[in-house]
């Protein structure tokens, strides 16, 4: 097939899709991940796959790359029906994927990483190193990466590693490239380079499936879109024919306010007073007051010591100095147990490692810190546990098959809801939310924001650590900016601008006086 003539003439609709999925259904115990899904990918075009977390995007990628087998439906490549029983079969058919977190090997060279598993062979079946390095160089040049093929991967930065991952995906003769949130860990400049690369791949006639939560990049590089919702394909079409708002509505199934919830902002009495909290290496001299019904935002660059301070406040680590008062009384917090007893709870940033026990059911995750109230003389009472879990999961509109489902089977946004529900069930006074909407979709994000506003209105005091400026500006009553382990500035929300925050966080000028 020859697509170059199409591209040369600027024709954007080649007649035949290179890959077509139809009627794809995939169910897991208790959950239908995909129901009767259609997808077409055209050569020389970028198709954006959009949907909330849990809409079935990841499942689809796994089917495309031969990791999962669909229960029913067909996969056609160039109009020929085919199957991908293994990852190798998918790769042989020219489907390759660049994942969010790519598996690479730090101790191997760039060329070895690129050609792992399909290295060029010489005599006696031994690896032809010269050919491998030459080919690696070729591919790297093609994607505009200035990396030597014999560099050991360990010596590269995260962005260069990403380029190696892309080179690896292109080292097989790919016709379909799946990019699963490729920009998640890249800086602005690196994202630009990635866009250029996508343009180049388009020019080479590759069909690209681009999965992203970021609408600006979807509108920047995609030609087509396909919207998934709750495991079904809602709509597909040309990007030129939709607006961002329409796309969001299709994704969520209802209109979403892009504005943050309005609420009564009249904080009450002081609840928590922190003074002089210090740690040998992570933070120094942190002091502030948190009032009843207030949302206090903590902004700062990554590594400013915000999470480390919050974990000390929650008793995970111990401060070297500093005091903390709750309702005016001195509170000694030496462990999470003591923090929970005093009504301070912490929703960690690292959901999988610190927040959720993924191999255990939803209800047991939720009752974990509340077992004392659901049990009787140390004996568990399941009925009480289910009742408590139901109360909070329904309030948070959790999407799950049952309360007995393992948390690991839920989408990121729903896992976050379980962790929040777990802490609300303890009826805390102060809830610390560390990057509460990181990596969750638009719909869940809005739900979490609305919920935070509700909690504050009920008198709960909220500390929100966030690196997203709109979130900080939209939700906080007051904002504390941390820089290099210290409080750089404190602001009221009135009249606060993104520029002020960024300056204070980076320490550009003398404005940063607390």
């Amino acid at each position: 097939m020859n697509y170059s003539s199409d591209i040369a003439q600027g024709v954007t609709v080649p007649a035949e899709p290179v890959l077509r999925l139809s009627g794809i259904t995939k169910t897991f115990p208790g959950v239908r991940a995909l129901g009767d899904v259609e997808l077409e990918l055209y050569p020389g075009q970028v198709t954006a796959l959009v949907g909330e977390n849990g809409a079935g995007k990841s499942t689809l990628v796994k089917i495309l790359t031969g990791i999962y087998q669909p229960d029913s439906g067909t996969i056609e490549v160039d109009g020929q029906e085919t199957r991908f029983p293994t990852a190798t079969a998918a790769s042989d058919a020219g489907v390759t994927a660049i994942h969010q977190e790519t598996v690479l090997f730090d101790e191997l060279t760039v060329a070895e990483n690129i050609f792992l598993g399909h290295a060029p062979r010489g005599r006696f079946g031994l690896i032809d190193w010269a050919a491998m390095n030459t080919k690696a160089k070729e591919i790297l040049t093609r994607i505009g990466a200035q990396i030597g093929p014999s560099t050991v991967l360990r010596d590269l930065g995260i962005a260069s590693k990403h380029l190696v991952a892309i080179a690896r995906a292109l080292s097989v003769d790919a016709r379909v490239v799946v990019m699963d949130e490729p920009t998640a860990s890249l800086s602005a400049a690196e994202i630009e380079e990635l866009y250029e690369l996508v343009e180049r791949l388009k020019a080479e006639g590759k069909a690209i499936l681009f999965i992203s939560h970021k609408f600006d990049e979807i509108f920047r590089i995609a030609d087509r879109y396909t919207v998934f919702r709750d495991g079904e394909m809602v709509e597909a079409g040309m990007i030129a024919d939709v607006t961002e708002t329409q796309l969001v509505e299709k994704m969520v199934g209802r209109a979403v306010d892009t504005i943050f919830p309005e609420r009564d902002r009249r904080p009450g009495a002081d609840v928590l007073t922190v003074a002089g909290y210090s740690h040998p290496t992570e933070f120094a001299d942190i002091g502030f007051t948190l009032r009843r019904g207030e949302i206090l935002g903590f902004y700062g660059l990554v590594g400013a010591g915000r999470s480390e301070f919050m974990q000390a406040l929650f008793g995970v680590t111990r401060p070297s100095r500093g005091a903390c008062r709750i309702d005016g009384k001195v509170a000694v917090i030496r462990s999470p147990v003591e923090a929970i007893e005093k009504g301070i709870v912490y929703v960690p940033e690292d959901r999988g490692a610190q927040g959720a026990v993924t191999a255990m059911p939803i209800f047991q995750n939720i009752t974990l810190p509340s077992l004392r109230t659901t049990s009787h003389k140390g004996f568990v009472r399941m009925a009480e546990e289910f009742a408590l879990a139901r109360k909070y999961t329904e309030r948070l509109d959790l999407r799950a098959a049952s309360l007995d489902q393992n948390v690991g089977e839920l989408s990121g946004g729903n896992q976050q809801k379980v962790v929040i529900a777990k802490w609300l069930a303890t009826r805390p006074r102060v809830i610390i939310l560390d990057e509460p909407t990181k990596g969750i979709d638009v719909g869940s994000k809005a739900a979490v924001h609305e919920f935070m506003a509700e909690l504050a209105a009920e008198g709960l005091s909220v500390i929100m650590v966030s690196s997203e400026i709109p979130e900080i500006l939209g939700m906080s009553d007051r904002v504390i900016v941390m820089r290099e382990g210290r409080i750089a500035a404190e602001y009221d929300r009135e009249g606060l601008t993104p520029e002020t925050l960024v300056r204070a966080a980076a320490g550009y000028d003398g404005e940063a006086a607390a």
């Binding site: 999470p336 974990l368 140390g378 329904e394 309030r395």
Partner: protein, 332 residues
């Protein structure tokens, strides 16, 4: 109750499948089937097998190991392991035999056995929870250490002459063919089953085994739970030492040699994940019956000991591999 956007919340059922469906898919049922098969095979192997006294004798093959197995199951579910249990038996038995030389009576001997078990457990637990050392390394060390002490004390000698009232703890019968040991086994099975499956403490054990960091972040005193489990394992080893010493009527430094592997095998055969986080006491009970009957049945057939361990090893690998194989075949 309504959500912020005015819609009714969706109702989540407690569970999708009922109790029956879960039992049918359980590991325990599979294991129980194997136990029945072995039982039937044994009845074919020897006409004496079904004799009540004969069956009663068969239980001594597993009661002591299974008592340790219950505590070991909790420890393994929490993500730790104790390989020094047989060493603890040797040390506790040696301590009892040594005290016997000074005329200590049955209550004193029992107290010494329990105390040595607890102390050894505390030693293991302190090394693991206070110093943060990996339990597999710590207990491989204490395994040699504990047994080494009893070799130093005893050399090639043995302690003999335990009183009759002490011997009853290993040979006595509570009612008809029901031995004291079998009674202890049943009581401990019940206690451990309730603790693991029906208490907050049991829930904490599972949580720690699945995700110790999240457990800590949820306000569970992880180190304390682990310390208690090491103490329990030490205590159960002490109890097993009392029963075994009473049954044999003598203490040699080679007592209960290599039992740690049989105990761990029993626990894993019972469906407890060696990686921690899952398993049940019922599974360990059935696994104990399976191993006990296999040993006894092969004994009736005069099969040498080494063949028995080959059989147990093959059984372990088979029972663990078969479900995976079935799942794999189904997929392809």
């Amino acid at each position: 109750m309504s959500l912020a956007d005015g819609t009714r919340p969706r109702h989540l059922p407690d569970r999708l499948s009922g109790r029956g469906a879960r039992v049918l898919k359980s590991w325990e049922l599979l294991l129980f089937g194997i136990a029945v098969l072995i039982f039937l095979a044994n009845t074919q192997a020897s006409q004496y097998f079904l004799d009540p006294w004969n069956l009663s004798d068969a239980t001594f093959n597993f009661t002591e190991k299974a008592m340790i197995g219950f505590a070991m199951a909790l420890l393994i579910i929490s993500g730790e392991i104790d390989l020094s249990v047989a060493g603890i038996i040797a040390l506790a038995s040696t301590a009892m035999g040594w005290a016997l030389q000074f005329g200590v009576g049955t209550p004193g001997l029992v107290a010494i056995g329990l105390a040595v078990g607890l102390l050894c457990g505390a030693f293991n637990g302190a090394l693991v929870t206070r110093l943060g050392l990996p339990s597999i390394v710590v207990t491989i060390g204490t395994m040699s250490l504990f047994r080494g002490i009893s070799y130093i004390v005893l050399g090639d000698q043995a302690f003999n002459g335990y009183p009759e009232s002490f011997a009853w703890l290993g040979r006595g019968y509570v009612f008809w063919v029901i031995s004291f040991e079998l009674t202890l086994f049943a009581v401990f099975a019940l206690i451990y089953g309730v603790v693991l499956h029906k208490t907050n403490f049991g829930r904490h054990i599972y949580t720690i085994g699945n995700n110790p960091t999240a457990a800590r972040f949820s306000g569970i005193r992880v180190e304390r739970v682990k310390m208690i489990l090491f103490l329990l394992t030490g205590l159960m080893s002490g109890i097993a030492a009392i029963c075994l010493t009473a049954r044999l009527g003598s203490t040699r430094p080679s007592i209960a040699y290599a039992w740690e592997l049989e105990v761990v095998t029993m626990v894993v055969l019972g469906g407890v994940s060696i990686l921690g986080g899952s398993g049940s006491i019922l599974g360990v009970v059935i696994a104990a019956l399976v191993m006990g009957m296999v040993t006894f049945g092969l004994g009736l057939l005069n099969v040498p000991g080494i063949v028995m361990s080959i059989f147990i090893g093959a059984l372990l690998i088979g029972v663990i591999a078969i479900p995976r194989l079935v799942a794999k075949l189904r997929r392809s």
